[in-house]
């Protein structure tokens, strides 16, 4: 089993926006985020998935082995949240993926990885 805890920051979210090219202001501008009913900026689902993939790759024996990743983005992640990412083997070439915040609430659910053994 591989596990890692990450505390999200505005800088990290901005770095992901820059590297990914996803500049939706809900990830970058608190005032804008509030106008669409959010508490402030939120992390990209794909940033959560990227961090989840890094943990899954560790459990799979390397990123090149990953053949399928599926994530459901179930909870918002805001700067200051600490999310624990866990990849647990559940069968040949299969990992169950979990991401849970500091309150024990799942932020990624029904998430799995498949890999070449």
């Amino acid at each position: 089993m591989s596990t890692r805890a990450v505390t999200f920051t505005k800088q990290q979210i901005a770095d992901y926006a820059q590297a990914s090219g996803d500049h939706n202001p809900i990830h970058l501008d608190d005032d804008f985020a509030k106008t669409v009913g959010l508490p402030g900026v939120i992390a990209h689902g794909l940033l959560q998935m990227g961090l989840m993939a890094t943990t899954a790759a560790e459990a799979a024996g390397g990123p090149d082995r990953l053949r399928r990743l599926h994530c459901r983005f179930s909870g918002m992640v805001v700067p200051g949240d600490t999310v624990t990412f866990t990849a647990e083997p559940v069968g040949p070439g299969k990992l169950e993926l979990r991401a849970v915040n500091q309150r024990g609430e799942p932020v990624l659910t029904k998430s799995i990885a498949e890999y070449l053994e």
Binding site: Y16, S20, V36, G50, H70
Partner: protein, 136 residues
């Protein structure tokens, strides 16, 4: 609640956008790897598909006036990537987006958007399946 499809809300189901080519630039790969806590020397991170696959075709959907996606009300609900192989830094790839379904119910619109990415020889690399929810 009936859950029926609202009249006139068939949206853009079935629409396919023109393929887009993308050069996988090594510096950008390294920056992406650092942003997700991966080793920047370990090749193209799997979820860099968020850039070379979904990232290049998504804007075609979001910019399509017929699709009328309100970006500010868009939530990314689910994402799946499947890989035949992972691309290498420096490689040129081609991605084509397709709206698999577009359904409105209970004031929410659900758009399933698929992207096929192939290498320069036309061999499959990656398939992305995104589910977007647009709040009304």
């Amino acid at each position: 609640m009936s859950g029926k499809v609202e009249a006139g809300a068939a949206g853009v189901a079935g629409r396919t956008y023109p393929p887009v080519t993308f050069q996988i630039e090594p510096g950008r790969v390294a920056a992406f790897a650092r942003a997700i806590g991966a080793d920047p020397e370990a090749g193209v991170p799997p979820t860099f598909a968020a850039v070379y696959s979904l990232g290049v075709t998504g804007p075609q959907l979001f910019g399509d006036p017929d699709a009328a996606v309100d970006f500010a009300r868009l939530l990314h609900a689910e994402q799946e990537f499947t890989w035949t192989r992972h691309p290498r830094p420096g490689e040129s790839v081609s991605s084509q987006g397709h709206v698999a379904s577009d359904v409105s119910r209970r004031g929410m619109r659900f758009v399933s958007f698929e992207t096929e990415t192939t290498d320069s020889a036309g061999e499959p690399l990656c398939r992305s399946r995104a589910l977007f929810v647009i709040r009304s």
